[in-house]
Symmetry: C2
Subunit: 271 residues, 2 copies
């Protein structure tokens, strides 16, 4: 099986891909759009995209892409993001003066780097920083990236888990051309819009509350240029083909201006 992801080999998305799918072939893509294309055209059987991070929030662009394409969400995976300080084999931690990585990774390790007196220096991405370091061969420089990136380039991990905030999780969604019907503990992701009326959301949520269906995510997103309209992202417990879910979705369809079921999939509990 071929699975598309956005980024370079060794990116956190690729790490999530191997942890979730096991021994598959990974297909790096330059953009998220290209991941969707790869699955839509059949070049890859699956795609894996990040949808939210515990520190940085939901990735609206990927929700937009989900709405623009006719793919199905068929799985989820929670990756604990653990940044590694990576150096040339044999280089000593005490000799490291400079750390290169994506600015977001550098920012997430800012206190650690300050404490060690290491100067941060931005480059394009996390996995790419390991590649650059290997090419330069510098022994006073470290890269900050995933364990997988270190292994891929045969580099040394000086320290693992150097992020300042350990509560750093990214949730990924698996995409496919065809929907799945999960047994066991499942979740369903939907997107809908509502008329702008007081209590419209309350009415919409009643379709779940009255059936004791648990919501695991709710998020409103203002539609720019339409100051009073909102998109809602909702995840709920259960699969869409179960009777109570089906009834709830039917009833929601009566109120909603637009309603799209993105997919049902097995729930991932994470750590």
């Amino acid at each position: 099986m071929r699975v598309a992801f956005q980024g370079e080999p060794g990116a956190y998305s690729e790490q999530a891909l191997f942890e979730y799918f096991g021994a598959v072939e990974s297909a790096p893509c330059e953009t998220f759009e290209a991941v969707f294309e790869a699955v839509a055209t059949g070049a890859c059987e699956r795609g894996l995209i990040p949808i939210e991070n515990s520190l940085a929030g939901s990735i609206h662009q990927n929700y937009d892409l989900l709405l623009r394409h006719n793919l199905h969400v068929v799985g989820e995976y929670q990756l604990r993001v653990r940044h590694c300080l990576i150096a040339m084999p044999g280089a000593a931690l005490s000799a490291i003066q400079k750390a290169i990585s994506h600015p977001q990774a550098l920012a997430q390790c800012a206190s650690y780097l300050k404490r060690r007196g290491i100067q941060p220096e931005p480059v394009y991405d996390t996995a790419g920083s390991v590649k650059l370091l290997k090419e330069s061969g510098a022994r006073d420089t470290a890269a900050i990236a995933s364990r997988r990136a270190a292994e891929l380039y045969g580099m040394q991990i000086l320290e693992e888990g150097i992020e300042d905030n350990a509560e750093n999780y990214t949730r990924f969604l698996a995409l496919s051309q065809t929907a799945v019907h999960p047994d066991g503990e499942a979740k369903t992701s939907i997107v809908f819009t509502l008329k702008n009326q007081p209590g419209a959301l309350f009415k919409a949520l009643s379709v779940f509350a009255l059936r004791e269906i648990d919501l695991t995510k709710i998020e409103s997103r203002p539609l720019q240029g339409k100051p009073w309209e909102y998109l809602f992202y909702v995840d709920f417990s259960g699969a869409a083909h179960e009777e109570s879910s089906q009834r709830a979705l039917d009833q929601l369809g009566e109120y909603a201006l637009m309603l799209r079921t993105l997919g049902s999939y097995a729930r991932h509990r994470g750590d």
Copy 2:
């Protein structure tokens, strides 16, 4: 008046600051934490922090800082993010081979750069890229940053609004040691947690629906390490001191495990 913001002079946050506060003194801070500290200690009368972006989502870290500090939200501002292609005075657009900026800004202009055959190269931040360009004096290189950064460093704007997606807005919140009681069209921001029971959120939202109070934002955030607990961010129309708001908040307080009113403030309509 002194107003704290995170970033370098010329950052988008500083542009928002001047558009919102007018002629004030801006105080650059290295981190968001430092912005909160500056206001909490009285070093600055106000702070301005980004809280959500239309493409990238809510900035959970700033919600966390709001919960950890006893400051009040006293205003909001929606900034339309318009990236500028900035060059040395007199440099020609046709001579530009390379563009430097923060990776997020480069990514947001990726199609534009590709179309023009300009190579992206990451640096630490948007405003900093203009400073670097000025220092180097390179006439084949452009920086991508705000109009304000170009003006600050006396540089030339070759093109404005080069972002691929025009629906790029960042919402900022103004912080102060003391709360305000806005007249006219107001909004209130609250944060709360609920017991994990089916229908708990539905019950919580009923306090607004029954009083026909409009919600302008709702977002759940899973609490890591507590797989069944959620924080909710809600913004609603009206000021907390109005009678119907007060009654709604009193009633919500009966259900919520934690409830914090972050502040009431005049609504900003944006474009």
